[in-house]
Protein backbone atom coordinates (compact mmCIF):
# COMPACT_ATOMS: atom_id res chain seq x y z
CA UNK A 1 0.00 0.00 0.00
CA UNK A 2 1.44 3.34 -0.95
CA UNK A 3 1.85 6.04 1.63
CA UNK A 4 -0.83 8.18 0.02
CA UNK A 5 -3.33 5.34 0.16
CA UNK A 6 -2.42 4.63 3.76
CA UNK A 7 -2.80 8.27 4.69
CA UNK A 8 -6.19 8.44 3.07
CA UNK A 9 -7.30 5.25 4.81
CA UNK A 10 -5.97 6.38 8.17
CA UNK A 11 -7.73 9.73 8.04
CA UNK A 12 -10.95 8.18 6.84
CA UNK A 13 -10.92 5.70 9.70
CA UNK A 14 -10.06 8.48 12.11
CA UNK A 15 -13.00 10.60 11.00
CA UNK A 16 -15.25 7.58 11.15
CA UNK A 17 -14.14 6.88 14.71
CA UNK A 18 -14.75 10.49 15.65
CA UNK A 19 -18.22 10.43 14.16
CA UNK A 20 -19.08 7.10 15.75
CA UNK A 21 -18.02 8.27 19.16
CA UNK A 22 -20.96 10.66 19.25
CA UNK A 23 -23.01 7.62 20.04
CA UNK A 24 -21.10 6.79 23.21
CA UNK A 25 -22.76 8.31 26.28
CA UNK A 26 -20.15 7.17 28.81
CA UNK A 27 -17.57 9.87 29.53
CA UNK A 28 -15.15 7.42 31.09
CA UNK A 29 -14.65 5.89 27.66
CA UNK A 30 -13.26 9.17 26.36
CA UNK A 31 -11.00 9.54 29.32
CA UNK A 32 -9.55 6.07 28.90
CA UNK A 33 -9.38 6.37 25.13
CA UNK A 34 -7.58 9.71 25.39
CA UNK A 35 -4.90 8.10 27.55
CA UNK A 36 -4.42 5.15 25.23
CA UNK A 37 -4.24 7.43 22.17
CA UNK A 38 -1.69 9.56 23.97
CA UNK A 39 0.41 6.46 24.53
CA UNK A 40 0.08 5.37 20.91
CA UNK A 41 1.46 8.71 19.77
CA UNK A 42 4.26 8.66 22.34
CA UNK A 43 5.24 5.09 21.57
CA UNK A 44 5.15 5.69 17.81
CA UNK A 45 7.19 8.86 18.18
CA UNK A 46 9.75 7.23 20.45
CA UNK A 47 10.14 4.35 18.07
CA UNK A 48 11.22 6.61 15.21
CA UNK A 49 14.41 7.42 17.04
CA UNK A 50 14.51 4.23 19.11
CA UNK A 51 13.45 1.31 16.99
CA UNK A 52 14.15 2.75 13.55
CA UNK A 53 17.43 4.51 14.31
CA UNK A 54 18.69 2.65 17.38
CA UNK A 55 19.07 5.62 19.75
CA UNK A 56 17.39 5.38 23.14
CA UNK A 57 15.60 8.45 24.46
CA UNK A 58 15.00 8.41 28.22
CA UNK A 59 13.63 11.90 28.29
CA UNK A 60 10.29 11.48 26.52
CA UNK A 61 8.74 13.41 29.37
CA UNK A 62 10.81 16.47 28.45
CA UNK A 63 9.34 16.57 24.95
CA UNK A 64 5.85 15.76 26.12
CA UNK A 65 6.05 18.49 28.74
CA UNK A 66 7.35 20.95 26.15
CA UNK A 67 4.14 20.43 24.23
CA UNK A 68 2.04 20.73 27.38
CA UNK A 69 3.75 23.82 28.69
CA UNK A 70 3.78 25.66 25.40
CA UNK A 71 0.01 25.24 25.50
CA UNK A 72 -0.04 26.68 29.02
CA UNK A 73 2.12 29.56 27.92
CA UNK A 74 -0.04 30.37 24.91
CA UNK A 75 -3.15 30.07 27.04
CA UNK A 76 -1.87 32.63 29.51
CA UNK A 77 -0.42 34.93 26.90
CA UNK A 78 -2.92 34.88 24.10
CA UNK A 79 -5.82 32.54 24.85
CA UNK A 80 -4.92 31.08 21.49
CA UNK A 81 -7.20 28.60 19.73
CA UNK A 82 -6.42 24.92 20.21
CA UNK A 83 -5.04 24.36 16.74
CA UNK A 84 -2.46 27.11 17.21
CA UNK A 85 -1.42 25.52 20.47
CA UNK A 86 -1.06 22.12 18.87
CA UNK A 87 1.09 23.43 16.05
CA UNK A 88 3.24 25.57 18.32
CA UNK A 89 3.80 22.81 20.86
CA UNK A 90 4.77 20.39 18.12
CA UNK A 91 7.22 22.85 16.62
CA UNK A 92 8.72 23.73 20.01
CA UNK A 93 9.29 20.09 20.86
CA UNK A 94 10.73 19.51 17.41
CA UNK A 95 13.14 22.36 17.93
CA UNK A 96 14.18 20.85 21.24
CA UNK A 97 14.81 17.52 19.53
CA UNK A 98 16.85 19.30 16.89
CA UNK A 99 18.94 21.16 19.46
CA UNK A 100 19.62 18.19 21.69
CA UNK A 101 20.29 16.02 18.67
CA UNK A 102 22.70 18.51 17.16
CA UNK A 103 24.64 18.75 20.41
CA UNK A 104 24.79 15.10 21.38
CA UNK A 105 24.18 12.83 18.40
CA UNK A 106 27.79 13.12 17.32
CA UNK A 107 28.63 11.06 20.36
CA UNK A 108 27.94 7.43 21.04
CA UNK A 109 24.34 6.35 21.49
CA UNK A 110 25.01 5.87 25.17
CA UNK A 111 25.82 9.52 25.69
CA UNK A 112 22.77 10.59 23.79
CA UNK A 113 20.64 8.44 26.10
CA UNK A 114 22.20 9.92 29.20
CA UNK A 115 21.85 13.42 27.78
CA UNK A 116 18.12 12.85 27.32
CA UNK A 117 17.86 11.87 30.97
CA UNK A 118 19.73 15.00 31.88
CA UNK A 119 17.45 17.01 29.65
CA UNK A 120 14.33 15.88 31.47
CA UNK A 121 15.73 16.92 34.84
CA UNK A 122 17.06 20.26 33.62
CA UNK A 123 13.79 21.13 31.91
CA UNK A 124 11.82 20.08 34.97
CA UNK A 125 13.92 22.29 37.21
CA UNK A 126 13.48 25.14 34.76
CA UNK A 127 9.69 24.76 34.64
CA UNK A 128 9.42 24.45 38.42
CA UNK A 129 11.13 27.81 38.71
CA UNK A 130 9.12 29.53 35.96
CA UNK A 131 6.25 31.31 37.65
CA UNK A 132 4.51 32.51 34.53
CA UNK A 133 3.36 28.99 33.74
CA UNK A 134 2.61 28.28 37.36
CA UNK A 135 5.93 26.90 38.56
CA UNK A 136 5.63 24.23 41.19
CA UNK A 137 2.11 25.32 42.12
CA UNK A 138 0.81 24.52 38.68
CA UNK A 139 -1.53 26.31 36.30
CA UNK A 140 -5.24 26.16 35.73
CA UNK A 141 -6.52 25.86 32.19
CA UNK A 142 -10.19 26.49 31.72
CA UNK A 143 -11.95 24.70 28.93
CA UNK A 144 -13.65 27.24 26.67
CA UNK A 145 -17.43 27.60 26.85
CA UNK A 146 -17.99 27.52 23.10
CA UNK A 147 -17.21 24.15 21.61
CA UNK A 148 -16.58 24.19 17.87
CA UNK A 149 -18.04 21.71 15.38
CA UNK A 150 -21.19 21.43 17.46
CA UNK A 151 -19.75 18.81 19.76
CA UNK A 152 -21.62 18.30 23.02
CA UNK A 153 -18.73 18.31 25.50
CA UNK A 154 -15.14 19.59 25.42
CA UNK A 155 -13.76 16.14 26.06
CA UNK A 156 -15.19 15.17 22.68
CA UNK A 157 -13.12 17.84 20.99
CA UNK A 158 -9.99 16.70 22.80
CA UNK A 159 -10.71 13.12 21.92
CA UNK A 160 -11.28 13.96 18.25
CA UNK A 161 -8.09 15.96 18.16
CA UNK A 162 -6.23 13.01 19.64
CA UNK A 163 -7.69 10.60 17.11
CA UNK A 164 -6.58 12.81 14.24
CA UNK A 165 -3.16 13.36 15.77
CA UNK A 166 -2.75 9.62 16.22
CA UNK A 167 -3.58 9.09 12.57
CA UNK A 168 -1.02 11.74 11.66
CA UNK A 169 1.66 10.16 13.82
CA UNK A 170 1.08 6.74 12.28
CA UNK A 171 1.14 8.17 8.77
CA UNK A 172 4.42 9.96 9.47
CA UNK A 173 5.98 6.88 11.05
CA UNK A 174 4.98 4.63 8.21
CA UNK A 175 6.11 7.13 5.61
CA UNK A 176 9.53 7.37 7.21
CA UNK A 177 9.78 3.62 7.66
CA UNK A 178 9.10 2.82 4.01
CA UNK A 179 11.09 5.66 2.51
CA UNK A 180 14.73 5.95 1.54
CA UNK A 181 15.31 7.82 4.79
CA UNK A 182 13.88 4.84 6.64
CA UNK A 183 16.38 2.53 4.95
CA UNK A 184 19.14 4.88 5.92
CA UNK A 185 17.94 4.93 9.53
CA UNK A 186 17.81 1.14 9.58
CA UNK A 187 21.38 1.02 8.27
CA UNK A 188 22.42 3.39 11.06
CA UNK A 189 20.68 1.18 13.59
CA UNK A 190 22.31 -2.00 12.27
CA UNK A 191 25.82 -0.61 11.96
CA UNK A 192 26.44 3.09 12.04
CA UNK A 193 30.08 3.01 10.92
CA UNK A 194 29.25 0.76 7.97
CA UNK A 195 26.31 3.00 7.09
CA UNK A 196 28.50 6.09 7.12
CA UNK A 197 31.03 4.37 4.86
CA UNK A 198 28.24 3.28 2.54
CA UNK A 199 27.39 6.90 1.90
CA UNK A 200 24.63 7.42 4.46
CA UNK A 201 24.80 10.93 5.97
CA UNK A 202 24.41 9.51 9.46
CA UNK A 203 24.52 12.71 11.48
CA UNK A 204 21.96 14.45 9.30
CA UNK A 205 19.57 11.51 9.40
CA UNK A 206 19.94 11.07 13.13
CA UNK A 207 19.17 14.72 13.74
CA UNK A 208 16.17 14.45 11.42
CA UNK A 209 14.97 11.41 13.33
CA UNK A 210 15.40 13.14 16.70
CA UNK A 211 13.55 16.22 15.47
CA UNK A 212 10.55 14.33 14.13
CA UNK A 213 10.45 12.07 17.17
CA UNK A 214 10.59 15.04 19.54
CA UNK A 215 7.98 16.96 17.58
CA UNK A 216 5.47 14.10 17.70
CA UNK A 217 6.06 13.55 21.42
CA UNK A 218 5.39 17.22 21.96
CA UNK A 219 2.27 16.96 19.86
CA UNK A 220 1.00 14.27 22.24
CA UNK A 221 1.33 16.74 25.10
CA UNK A 222 -0.34 19.76 23.57
CA UNK A 223 -3.91 18.94 24.60
CA UNK A 224 -2.91 17.56 28.00
CA UNK A 225 -3.50 20.80 29.96
CA UNK A 226 -7.06 20.99 28.68
CA UNK A 227 -7.63 17.34 29.46
CA UNK A 228 -6.68 17.79 33.12
CA UNK A 229 -7.70 21.45 33.43
CA UNK A 230 -4.73 21.77 35.73
CA UNK A 231 -1.08 21.21 34.95
CA UNK A 232 1.78 20.93 37.37
CA UNK A 233 5.34 19.84 36.63
CA UNK A 234 5.25 16.43 38.27
CA UNK A 235 2.22 15.49 36.15
CA UNK A 236 3.70 16.73 32.89
CA UNK A 237 7.11 15.21 33.63
CA UNK A 238 5.68 12.01 35.04
CA UNK A 239 8.05 9.08 35.03
CA UNK A 240 5.37 6.91 33.52
CA UNK A 241 5.88 8.69 30.20
CA UNK A 242 9.57 7.82 30.15
CA UNK A 243 9.07 4.17 30.95
CA UNK A 244 5.97 3.65 28.84
CA UNK A 245 7.38 5.19 25.70
CA UNK A 246 10.21 2.65 25.94
CA UNK A 247 8.22 -0.34 27.15
CA UNK A 248 5.41 -0.08 24.62
CA UNK A 249 7.51 -0.22 21.44
CA UNK A 250 9.77 -2.82 23.01
CA UNK A 251 6.90 -5.10 23.92
CA UNK A 252 4.97 -4.47 20.72
CA UNK A 253 7.94 -4.64 18.39
CA UNK A 254 10.34 -1.94 17.29
CA UNK A 255 10.86 -2.72 13.65
CA UNK A 256 7.68 -1.24 12.22
CA UNK A 257 4.92 1.22 12.94
CA UNK A 258 2.58 -1.58 14.02
CA UNK A 259 4.58 -2.63 17.09
CA UNK A 260 4.16 0.59 19.11
CA UNK A 261 0.42 0.55 18.44
CA UNK A 262 0.08 -3.00 19.73
CA UNK A 263 2.28 -2.24 22.71
CA UNK A 264 0.40 0.95 23.53
CA UNK A 265 -3.04 -0.60 23.26
CA UNK A 266 -2.08 -3.69 25.29
CA UNK A 267 -0.03 -1.99 27.93
CA UNK A 268 -2.28 1.04 28.06
CA UNK A 269 -5.34 -1.10 28.65
CA UNK A 270 -3.60 -3.21 31.27
CA UNK A 271 -2.58 -0.05 33.08
CA UNK A 272 -6.07 1.42 33.01
CA UNK A 273 -7.35 -1.79 34.61
CA UNK A 274 -4.62 -2.06 37.23
CA UNK A 275 -4.83 1.60 38.11
CA UNK A 276 -8.52 1.30 38.85
CA UNK A 277 -8.41 -2.07 40.59
CA UNK A 278 -5.11 -1.96 42.49
CA UNK A 279 -3.07 1.22 42.51
CA UNK A 280 -0.92 3.40 40.28
CA UNK A 281 2.29 2.37 42.01
CA UNK A 282 1.63 -1.32 41.28
CA UNK A 283 0.76 -0.26 37.79
CA UNK A 284 4.21 1.19 37.23
CA UNK A 285 5.85 -1.84 38.82
CA UNK A 286 4.09 -4.13 36.38
CA UNK A 287 5.19 -2.01 33.43
CA UNK A 288 8.76 -2.05 34.69
CA UNK A 289 8.78 -5.80 35.18
CA UNK A 290 7.26 -6.40 31.74
CA UNK A 291 9.92 -4.15 30.23
CA UNK A 292 12.74 -6.11 31.82
CA UNK A 293 11.19 -9.48 31.02
CA UNK A 294 10.60 -8.61 27.38
CA UNK A 295 13.96 -6.99 26.80
CA UNK A 296 15.78 -10.05 28.14
CA UNK A 297 13.61 -12.83 26.75
CA UNK A 298 11.72 -11.43 23.77
CA UNK A 299 13.73 -8.51 22.46
CA UNK A 300 11.82 -8.33 19.21
CA UNK A 301 8.51 -7.98 20.96
CA UNK A 302 5.16 -9.31 19.95
CA UNK A 303 5.65 -8.45 16.30
CA UNK A 304 8.91 -10.35 16.52
CA UNK A 305 6.98 -13.45 17.62
CA UNK A 306 4.54 -12.95 14.77
CA UNK A 307 7.38 -12.64 12.26
CA UNK A 308 9.16 -15.72 13.58
CA UNK A 309 5.92 -17.71 13.50
CA UNK A 310 5.25 -16.59 9.93
CA UNK A 311 8.75 -17.57 8.87
CA UNK A 312 8.41 -20.99 10.38
CA UNK A 313 5.21 -21.60 8.47
CA UNK A 314 6.91 -21.01 5.14
Amino acid sequence: MSNRAFAAAAFTIALAIVAASRLIPNDYFFSAAYTVLQFIILATAWNILGGYTGYVNFGSAAFFATGAYSTVFLYKALHAPLIVMIVTGTLAAGLLGLAVGYLTLRLRGVFFAIATLALAVVLYTFVVNWDYVGGARGAYILQPRDIPFGLPRYIHLLYSAMVLMTALALIVARAIETSTIGRGLAAIRDDEVAAECAGVPTLRLKIFSATVSGALMGMAGTTFPYYLSYVEPSAAFNLSYAVNSIAMPLIGGMMSWVGPVIGAVLLGTVQQVVQVTISSAWNLLIVGVLLVVFVTLAPNGIMGWVEAWRRRKR
Binding site: V56, A115, A118
Partner: protein, 291 residues
Protein backbone atom coordinates in the same frame (compact mmCIF):
# COMPACT_ATOMS: atom_id res chain seq x y z
CA UNK B 1 28.25 45.26 49.43
CA UNK B 2 31.08 43.66 51.33
CA UNK B 3 32.48 40.44 50.02
CA UNK B 4 30.57 37.57 51.62
CA UNK B 5 33.71 35.79 52.87
CA UNK B 6 31.98 33.56 55.37
CA UNK B 7 29.38 32.52 52.80
CA UNK B 8 32.01 31.75 50.17
CA UNK B 9 34.24 29.85 52.58
CA UNK B 10 31.34 27.76 53.77
CA UNK B 11 30.27 27.10 50.21
CA UNK B 12 33.80 25.93 49.41
CA UNK B 13 34.03 23.63 52.41
CA UNK B 14 30.57 22.20 51.84
CA UNK B 15 31.43 21.74 48.17
CA UNK B 16 34.63 19.88 48.93
CA UNK B 17 33.04 17.69 51.57
CA UNK B 18 30.20 16.82 49.23
CA UNK B 19 32.71 16.32 46.44
CA UNK B 20 34.46 13.59 48.37
CA UNK B 21 31.15 11.85 48.84
CA UNK B 22 30.26 12.28 45.17
CA UNK B 23 33.50 10.52 44.29
CA UNK B 24 32.41 7.50 46.33
CA UNK B 25 29.08 7.48 44.61
CA UNK B 26 30.66 7.70 41.17
CA UNK B 27 33.68 5.43 41.46
CA UNK B 28 31.48 2.46 40.62
CA UNK B 29 30.43 4.04 37.34
CA UNK B 30 34.05 4.77 36.52
CA UNK B 31 34.59 1.05 36.74
CA UNK B 32 31.44 -0.27 35.10
CA UNK B 33 31.08 2.38 32.42
CA UNK B 34 34.52 3.94 32.19
CA UNK B 35 36.46 0.69 32.19
CA UNK B 36 34.05 -2.10 31.32
CA UNK B 37 31.87 -0.16 28.89
CA UNK B 38 28.69 -1.37 30.58
CA UNK B 39 26.10 1.39 30.68
CA UNK B 40 24.75 0.66 34.09
CA UNK B 41 22.31 3.49 34.56
CA UNK B 42 20.80 1.41 37.33
CA UNK B 43 23.83 2.26 39.48
CA UNK B 44 21.85 4.83 41.51
CA UNK B 45 19.27 2.16 42.30
CA UNK B 46 21.88 0.31 44.32
CA UNK B 47 22.90 3.48 46.05
CA UNK B 48 19.34 4.05 47.19
CA UNK B 49 19.02 0.39 48.11
CA UNK B 50 22.09 0.78 50.29
CA UNK B 51 20.51 3.83 51.91
CA UNK B 52 17.31 2.01 52.73
CA UNK B 53 19.08 -1.03 54.14
CA UNK B 54 21.15 1.25 56.33
CA UNK B 55 17.94 2.96 57.36
CA UNK B 56 16.20 -0.28 58.33
CA UNK B 57 19.11 -1.56 60.40
CA UNK B 58 19.61 1.81 62.02
CA UNK B 59 15.93 2.11 62.77
CA UNK B 60 15.57 -1.37 64.25
CA UNK B 61 18.93 -1.83 65.94
CA UNK B 62 20.46 1.61 66.19
CA UNK B 63 23.64 0.61 64.40
CA UNK B 64 25.62 3.34 62.66
CA UNK B 65 24.83 3.27 58.91
CA UNK B 66 28.46 3.34 57.89
CA UNK B 67 29.12 0.17 59.84
CA UNK B 68 26.05 -1.39 58.27
CA UNK B 69 27.39 -0.60 54.84
CA UNK B 70 30.64 -2.39 55.37
CA UNK B 71 28.89 -5.49 56.66
CA UNK B 72 26.34 -5.44 53.87
CA UNK B 73 28.80 -4.89 51.02
CA UNK B 74 29.24 -8.63 50.29
CA UNK B 75 25.51 -8.75 49.62
CA UNK B 76 25.82 -6.03 47.02
CA UNK B 77 28.88 -7.71 45.59
CA UNK B 78 26.88 -10.89 45.05
CA UNK B 79 24.01 -8.88 43.57
CA UNK B 80 26.45 -7.28 41.17
CA UNK B 81 27.75 -10.66 40.06
CA UNK B 82 24.24 -11.88 39.40
CA UNK B 83 23.31 -8.75 37.47
CA UNK B 84 26.39 -8.97 35.28
CA UNK B 85 25.69 -12.60 34.56
CA UNK B 86 22.22 -11.73 33.26
CA UNK B 87 23.54 -8.75 31.32
CA UNK B 88 26.30 -10.83 29.76
CA UNK B 89 24.07 -13.75 28.75
CA UNK B 90 21.25 -11.66 27.39
CA UNK B 91 23.01 -8.72 25.85
CA UNK B 92 26.75 -8.66 25.63
CA UNK B 93 27.06 -12.08 24.09
CA UNK B 94 24.42 -11.26 21.54
CA UNK B 95 26.05 -7.97 20.64
CA UNK B 96 22.97 -6.04 21.56
CA UNK B 97 24.37 -4.05 24.42
CA UNK B 98 23.56 -0.68 23.08
CA UNK B 99 19.84 -0.25 22.91
CA UNK B 100 18.56 -3.26 24.77
CA UNK B 101 21.20 -3.16 27.46
CA UNK B 102 20.25 0.42 28.17
CA UNK B 103 16.57 -0.43 28.30
CA UNK B 104 17.36 -3.35 30.62
CA UNK B 105 19.22 -1.25 33.15
CA UNK B 106 16.63 1.47 32.93
CA UNK B 107 14.02 -1.15 33.75
CA UNK B 108 16.03 -2.28 36.78
CA UNK B 109 16.35 1.30 37.98
CA UNK B 110 12.68 1.85 37.49
CA UNK B 111 11.59 -1.34 39.22
CA UNK B 112 13.81 -0.59 42.20
CA UNK B 113 12.35 2.88 42.64
CA UNK B 114 8.75 1.75 42.33
CA UNK B 115 9.31 -1.24 44.63
CA UNK B 116 10.79 1.06 47.27
CA UNK B 117 7.78 3.35 46.93
CA UNK B 118 5.47 0.40 47.44
CA UNK B 119 7.34 -0.79 50.51
CA UNK B 120 8.33 2.46 52.14
CA UNK B 121 6.14 5.09 50.60
CA UNK B 122 7.36 8.44 49.34
CA UNK B 123 8.20 9.95 52.72
CA UNK B 124 11.75 10.95 53.45
CA UNK B 125 13.65 8.57 55.71
CA UNK B 126 16.59 9.53 57.89
CA UNK B 127 18.99 7.98 60.35
CA UNK B 128 20.15 8.77 63.85
CA UNK B 129 23.88 8.72 64.43
CA UNK B 130 26.02 9.83 67.32
CA UNK B 131 27.34 12.73 65.33
CA UNK B 132 24.51 13.86 63.05
CA UNK B 133 23.88 16.93 65.15
CA UNK B 134 27.49 17.89 65.78
CA UNK B 135 29.28 20.65 63.93
CA UNK B 136 32.85 21.76 64.35
CA UNK B 137 33.45 25.40 63.93
CA UNK B 138 36.70 26.90 62.69
CA UNK B 139 36.34 30.66 62.64
CA UNK B 140 33.55 31.53 60.18
CA UNK B 141 33.55 28.06 58.69
CA UNK B 142 31.26 25.21 59.67
CA UNK B 143 32.30 21.56 59.46
CA UNK B 144 29.12 19.58 59.97
CA UNK B 145 29.96 16.04 61.07
CA UNK B 146 27.21 14.64 58.95
CA UNK B 147 29.30 15.79 55.99
CA UNK B 148 32.76 15.26 57.44
CA UNK B 149 32.39 11.62 58.42
CA UNK B 150 31.00 10.47 55.04
CA UNK B 151 33.68 12.58 53.36
CA UNK B 152 36.44 10.78 55.24
CA UNK B 153 35.12 7.29 54.61
CA UNK B 154 34.31 8.16 50.99
CA UNK B 155 37.79 9.34 50.19
CA UNK B 156 39.19 6.30 51.99
CA UNK B 157 37.06 4.01 49.87
CA UNK B 158 37.96 5.73 46.62
CA UNK B 159 41.67 5.71 47.36
CA UNK B 160 41.30 2.10 48.44
CA UNK B 161 39.73 1.20 45.10
CA UNK B 162 42.50 2.96 43.22
CA UNK B 163 45.19 1.16 45.21
CA UNK B 164 43.39 -2.12 44.67
CA UNK B 165 43.31 -1.54 40.92
CA UNK B 166 46.95 -0.61 40.63
CA UNK B 167 48.56 -2.87 43.19
CA UNK B 168 46.80 -6.20 43.09
CA UNK B 169 46.88 -8.82 40.38
CA UNK B 170 43.13 -8.81 40.05
CA UNK B 171 42.99 -5.04 40.01
CA UNK B 172 45.49 -4.87 37.22
CA UNK B 173 43.53 -7.50 35.35
CA UNK B 174 40.56 -5.15 35.50
CA UNK B 175 42.61 -2.29 34.11
CA UNK B 176 43.87 -4.65 31.44
CA UNK B 177 40.45 -5.88 30.45
CA UNK B 178 39.46 -2.30 29.82
CA UNK B 179 42.23 -1.96 27.30
CA UNK B 180 42.90 -5.24 25.63
CA UNK B 181 40.70 -8.26 26.14
CA UNK B 182 42.59 -10.39 23.65
CA UNK B 183 45.88 -9.92 25.42
CA UNK B 184 44.22 -10.89 28.66
CA UNK B 185 42.87 -14.06 27.14
CA UNK B 186 46.32 -14.91 25.83
CA UNK B 187 47.57 -14.57 29.38
CA UNK B 188 45.13 -17.24 30.44
CA UNK B 189 42.76 -14.97 32.26
CA UNK B 190 39.08 -15.15 31.45
CA UNK B 191 37.97 -11.61 30.65
CA UNK B 192 34.34 -12.37 31.36
CA UNK B 193 35.17 -13.51 34.87
CA UNK B 194 37.28 -10.43 35.47
CA UNK B 195 34.52 -8.16 34.17
CA UNK B 196 31.96 -9.92 36.34
CA UNK B 197 34.02 -9.40 39.46
CA UNK B 198 34.80 -5.80 38.54
CA UNK B 199 31.14 -5.09 37.95
CA UNK B 200 30.33 -6.70 41.28
CA UNK B 201 32.86 -4.37 42.88
CA UNK B 202 31.17 -1.36 41.30
CA UNK B 203 27.80 -2.40 42.73
CA UNK B 204 29.35 -3.00 46.14
CA UNK B 205 30.73 0.55 46.15
CA UNK B 206 27.25 1.79 45.27
CA UNK B 207 25.67 0.03 48.21
CA UNK B 208 28.31 1.35 50.58
CA UNK B 209 27.98 4.87 49.21
CA UNK B 210 24.24 4.62 49.77
CA UNK B 211 24.81 4.19 53.46
CA UNK B 212 26.99 7.29 53.40
CA UNK B 213 24.21 9.15 51.62
CA UNK B 214 21.61 8.66 54.29
CA UNK B 215 23.98 10.14 56.86
CA UNK B 216 24.25 13.29 54.77
CA UNK B 217 20.61 13.76 53.92
CA UNK B 218 17.21 12.12 54.22
CA UNK B 219 16.32 9.89 51.29
CA UNK B 220 13.25 8.95 49.33
CA UNK B 221 12.99 6.56 46.38
CA UNK B 222 13.03 9.17 43.61
CA UNK B 223 16.44 10.50 44.61
CA UNK B 224 18.08 7.71 42.65
CA UNK B 225 17.17 9.33 39.37
CA UNK B 226 18.74 12.62 40.35
CA UNK B 227 22.01 10.82 40.91
CA UNK B 228 22.19 9.54 37.35
CA UNK B 229 23.23 12.90 36.02
CA UNK B 230 25.65 13.28 38.87
CA UNK B 231 27.52 10.02 38.50
CA UNK B 232 27.79 10.26 34.74
CA UNK B 233 28.77 13.91 34.93
CA UNK B 234 31.57 13.01 37.33
CA UNK B 235 32.62 10.10 35.18
CA UNK B 236 32.68 12.12 31.96
CA UNK B 237 34.33 15.16 33.55
CA UNK B 238 36.89 12.85 35.09
CA UNK B 239 37.84 11.33 31.77
CA UNK B 240 35.99 7.99 31.89
CA UNK B 241 37.71 5.32 33.87
CA UNK B 242 40.36 7.27 35.70
CA UNK B 243 39.87 7.10 39.45
CA UNK B 244 41.87 10.25 40.07
CA UNK B 245 39.78 11.90 37.37
CA UNK B 246 36.68 10.77 39.23
CA UNK B 247 37.91 12.50 42.37
CA UNK B 248 38.67 15.68 40.48
CA UNK B 249 35.35 15.64 38.65
CA UNK B 250 33.54 14.98 41.90
CA UNK B 251 35.13 17.97 43.59
CA UNK B 252 34.29 20.19 40.62
CA UNK B 253 30.70 19.06 40.78
CA UNK B 254 30.50 19.41 44.54
CA UNK B 255 31.77 22.96 44.39
CA UNK B 256 29.48 23.88 41.50
CA UNK B 257 26.44 22.54 43.33
CA UNK B 258 27.42 24.15 46.59
CA UNK B 259 27.86 27.57 45.04
CA UNK B 260 24.62 27.28 43.07
CA UNK B 261 22.74 26.26 46.16
CA UNK B 262 24.22 29.06 48.26
CA UNK B 263 23.74 31.88 45.78
CA UNK B 264 20.76 30.82 43.70
CA UNK B 265 18.79 28.60 46.00
CA UNK B 266 18.68 24.84 46.50
CA UNK B 267 15.90 24.26 43.98
CA UNK B 268 18.42 24.81 41.20
CA UNK B 269 20.91 22.26 42.53
CA UNK B 270 19.68 19.18 40.58
CA UNK B 271 20.05 21.12 37.36
CA UNK B 272 23.72 21.76 38.07
CA UNK B 273 24.97 18.22 37.68
CA UNK B 274 22.86 17.54 34.64
CA UNK B 275 23.68 20.90 33.14
CA UNK B 276 27.39 20.27 33.64
CA UNK B 277 26.97 16.83 32.10
CA UNK B 278 25.21 18.21 29.04
CA UNK B 279 27.89 20.87 28.67
CA UNK B 280 30.67 18.31 29.08
CA UNK B 281 29.08 16.00 26.51
CA UNK B 282 28.51 18.78 24.07
CA UNK B 283 31.88 20.41 24.33
CA UNK B 284 34.50 18.17 25.86
CA UNK B 285 33.46 14.54 26.07
CA UNK B 286 36.97 13.35 26.80
CA UNK B 287 36.82 14.93 30.22
CA UNK B 288 38.99 17.27 32.22
CA UNK B 289 41.99 14.99 32.19
CA UNK B 290 41.29 14.29 28.51
CA UNK B 291 42.35 11.09 26.80
Amino acid sequence: MEFPTALVLNAIIAGLLLGGFYAAVSVGISISFGMLDVVNIAHPAFIILGSYIAYIVNDRMGVDPILVSVVVSPLFFALGMLLYRIYYLCFEKRGQESLRGLAFFFGILFITEVALVLIFGVDYRMVQTAYSETTWRLGPVDFPMRLVVPFLVSVTMVVGVQLFLTHTFFGRAVLAVAQDQLALRLMGVNPTRVKGLAFALSIATAGVAGAFLIVIQPVQPAIGREFIGLVFAVCVLGGMGSIWGTLLGAFVLGLAESFTSTFFGPSWAPAVSFGLLLAALAFKPSGLLGR
